[in-house]
Amino acid sequence: MQPPKVLFIEEDLASVRFYIKEMQDEKLEVVHIRKADEVLNKLDSAGATVSLIILDSAMPPGKSYESKATESGTQTGQFLFADIRERLPTVPIIILSNFSGLEWIQKASEKPKVKSLNKLATLPSDLIKHIRMMLK
């Protein structure tokens, strides 16, 4: 049986490696994407096999979102979220961010199968618990 595949969309390396290691120890297949421009290509090619998506709010907009109001990149995730939902309306999404108080995140987390977590308060072991809950 194939392990669940998690798409981790996050530019920062320093903190994400702890999360990825923990997920790999828990036998989850992790695909890490650092650039906004690569996300949609990945979803178009392999979106059907993704079990869950973890998304940050802040990342450089790249070419795909340079015309959008990303507020210096802090809200690029907002536009990624919309595009992801359009392609994968039922896949669970965890918004894992340092800017979890942003309005778009609070509104998004009210939607079904969406959860918002703050990186400071979320240890890798906590993230695993949330992933397991959302994959049930």
Partner: protein
Amino acid sequence: MTNQSKDQVEGVPAIESKVADTLSAAYDLLKGSDPIIEDTRRSLWRRLWAENTTREWIQRLEAEPSFCSELHHGIPDDLEVLNAMRASLTRARGHFGTYFILGLLNARIERTNAERYKAQPAWEDNNRQQGFCGLESRKYLPTADRINYSGFVCIGIQNSHAEWLCGSPDKPYQTSAIPKNTACRIAVWCQAEPSAGSFSEDLLIETGLDSDMVFFYVQVDCATLPLPYGRKKLFFHRKVKSESLYFDFFTPKRKGSHAVCIQLFQSQSLVKSATMVIHVL
């Protein structure tokens, strides 16, 4: 697992941190579900977060200075984490953005301390008045190196003839641009209410001594514009508009946007960082 990354923010060299490496190694060693292990891991995580996040933000500011304007959304309210971030910044001196982040942290610490001071129960207040003060409360007592102030720091740009280029009611800073290759000056002042057309940001000091006369030392910084070095002093009555301080500079020959950081100090403490983006056309 080491914590160093050669390319944490694309195009900007990573800032090395031996502290982060040590914390990472310690975090990796802690295994198990014992409550003591769990608590220790959580405490390490918070310090790792402080170390990694300050480095990430400094790099991001170097790559995109306009990131300044959104950074306050990510500043936590936790005093322990704020102080850990400040400690991390002392190891990252020399980078543009270090002072700006430090200003945000100090402002948040100031606000958090002020809220705690106001929330002290009445019996502790009585004890303070009688000269008895627990160690915990002493942290929130007014400090002699700060003077309380509630108002706004205001910023605008003038040309060499003292005519407003942006920052006046006729030329609001949000929509005005400055001509290229022009002698200009940054005007900085304080007043009780926001100034029409100028960049105005609230300036609140609550954990200092009460005084009618207030002082701030002001300096300006920008990663992409050559600005004069050194601090200038503002000394004014808290209820009136202060005099203006001026910092001369030349706009570049090419159009572009520039994030100018204005820092205010009382004694040696950075009490406020404000960033205004100016557009050169």
